[in-house]
């Protein structure tokens, strides 16, 4: 009889320890998803800040490219007013494409390419694009790990009580989208 009690207590203790471990894992995974998202946010804001400077610099040299400037300005304000990640993602991807075409166009203006201010802005923007891509990569990896962690048994017993929902990944722009950007550029 005594042995049975000990066994029961040991099992209960084991289950509690395991539950705490699962809980901590879930919280950590969630924090890493949120950390990834805020990092994307920081870099997107930085891009919004850089764009007006860049456009002003390019305008001084490439006067015939009004169409690009307008497209970038429109995408920037549309993306700025987006409220959810699902809504913002395609706009952000199009903005990336539009900025690529701006740099492609600037190849045609040798004086612009010699401008130190332009070169510095180009480096900063290229770096910000990379940071967005890397932050997205980190975010997607975190989301993948989070979604698996809340779905497997027995973690799902706990995650359901915490109200954890699977998150959606930020998918990369598809080829058709990129092409449409290039077409508008010829």
């Amino acid at each position: 009889m005594g042995n049975g009690v000990y066994l029961f207590v040991a099992m209960a203790a084991g289950i509690v320890v395991y539950a705490v471990y699962i809980y901590n894992t879930l919280v950590r995974r969630k924090a890493s998803v949120e950390n990834g998202w805020s990092q994307i946010d920081v870099q997107l804001k930085r891009r919004y800040d850089l764009i007006p400077n860049l456009v002003e610099t390019v305008k001084g040299y490439a006067t015939h490219e009004r169409e690009v400037f307008e497209r970038i300005a429109a995408l920037r304000s549309a993306a700025l007013s987006a409220t959810s990640p699902e809504q913002a993602a395609p706009l952000q991807n199009q903005l990336t494409g539009a900025l690529k075409s701006l740099f492609a166009v600037s190849e045609n203006y040798p004086e612009l390419k010699a401008n130190r201010n332009f070169l510095a802005l180009q480096e900063e923007l290229a770096s910000t694009e990379n940071k967005i891509a890397f932050a997205r990569q980190y975010y997607n990896d975190a989301v993948k790990a989070f979604n698996i962690a809340i779905d497997v048994f027995p973690n799902n017993l706990i995650s359901r009580r915490l109200g954890y929902e699977p998150r959606s990944m930020w998918t990369a722009e598809d080829a058709s989208e990129l092409q449409s950007v290039q077409v508008s550029w010829r």
């Binding site: 890493s32 950390n35 990834g36 990092q39 870099q43 510095a120 480096e123 900063e124 290229a126 770096s127 990379n130 940071k131 890397f134 932050a135 997205r136 990569q137 980190y138 997607n140 990896d141 975190a142 990369a172």
Partner: protein
């Protein structure tokens, strides 16, 4: 096809095994020297551990700054080298790590290294020669390799290995000197004489072999960690071609980096000493040969996120 997870697990297991071997070597050396000098085996063990602990404390708190000042590195900010700074910042985002300190070495030779005790206290350094000769993609690959050393805790592991090897070499040095200058104490009693004579032989043999063994182990770990850092770098950048072309450029560099020595050569992305840079894999090389590194990078599977 080799998965990153498999590679990292394999390397971790191997590293723990080799670290354990070094621990055994240090303990055995301490114990046999203790007996030989007429003490108890555990006295020797305690003294050997004390040496290692003091060595460890110095490296833990001052090691990174000592290595950086030895190599003549100078800390930089964003405005000193915007592209370099940006590349490191990009990779710290990709790896989900805090931004490390960035150092520049004013030298025409091409090299880079990482040091520190953990990702919160990490530094990455690059020579001006390397920074200027690489394009953006290659620079990103090289810094991704260094950030991987930080992320995989190679910087801490390299430090621990250096502490162990350093302690073993120090103890062996003391033993060899005492053999030559006859500092051996007289035995406590005559009946312990025979056992002590055996231990004396063991201690001397260990003193000769231990430093050699210790550095072979250290170098084996170093080579494995280079492969792993290459693989993790590709995992971060998803661009194996950048790393391959950077490695090609690095190895064709004819210059020798000043301010490096046999003690720090294993830290760099390629061996900084000219005579050790080329050649096949051997027990005594700090880095795998370029051919085997490129071969392994090309064997990795890369998926786009």
């Amino acid at each position: 096809m080799v998965s990153f997870e498999g590679l990292i697990e394999h390397n971790k297991r191997l590293s723990y095994l080799l670290f354990f071997l070094l621990l055994l070597l240090l303990g055995g050396l301490g114990a046999s020297v203790g007996v030989w000098w007429g003490g108890e085996w555990y006295t020797g063990l305690i003294v050997a551990s004390a040496v290692a602990v003091i060595y460890f404390l110095i490296s833990w708190y001052a090691g990174a700054s000592m290595i950086l000042s030895m190599s003549g590195a100078r800390e930089i900010r964003h405005e000193d080298a915007p592209q370099l700074w940006n590349v490191v910042e990009e990779l710290s985002i990709a790896a989900g790590l805090p931004m490390p300190k960035v150092y520049m070495i004013e030298d025409g030779a091409m090299n880079a290294f990482a040091t520190g005790r953990d990702p919160q206290h990490a530094s990455v350094a690059i020579t001006r020669g390397l920074m200027e000769k690489l394009n953006r993609e290659e620079l990103q690959a090289v810094m991704a390799h260094e950030m991987s050393h930080v992320r995989n805790y190679d910087i801490r592991f390299a430090m621990l290995m250096a502490v162990m090897v350093g302690s073993i070499v120090l103890i062996c040095d003391v033993v060899m000197r005492s053999v030559f200058f006859g500092r051996r104490r007289s035995s406590r009693s005559s009946d312990g004489g025979k056992g002590q004579a055996v231990m004396a032989v063991v201690a001397v043999v260990l003193a000769i072999l231990a430093p050699l063994l210790a550095s072979i182990i250290q170098l084996a770990v170093s080579r494995q960690r280079e492969y792993l850092a290459d693989a993790s770098a590709v995992e971060l950048t998803r661009n194996p071609a950048g790393l391959v072309s950077a490695l090609r450029k690095l190895t064709s560099d004819p210059n020798e980096l000043e301010g490096t020595s046999r003690g720090t050569q294993h830290l760099y992305i390629v061996n900084p000493l000219r005579k050790n840079k080329k050649g096949r894999d051997s027990l005594f090389s700090t880095h795998p040969s370029l051919e085997s590194r490129i071969e392994r990078i090309e064997g990795l599977s890369v998926a786009r996120a």
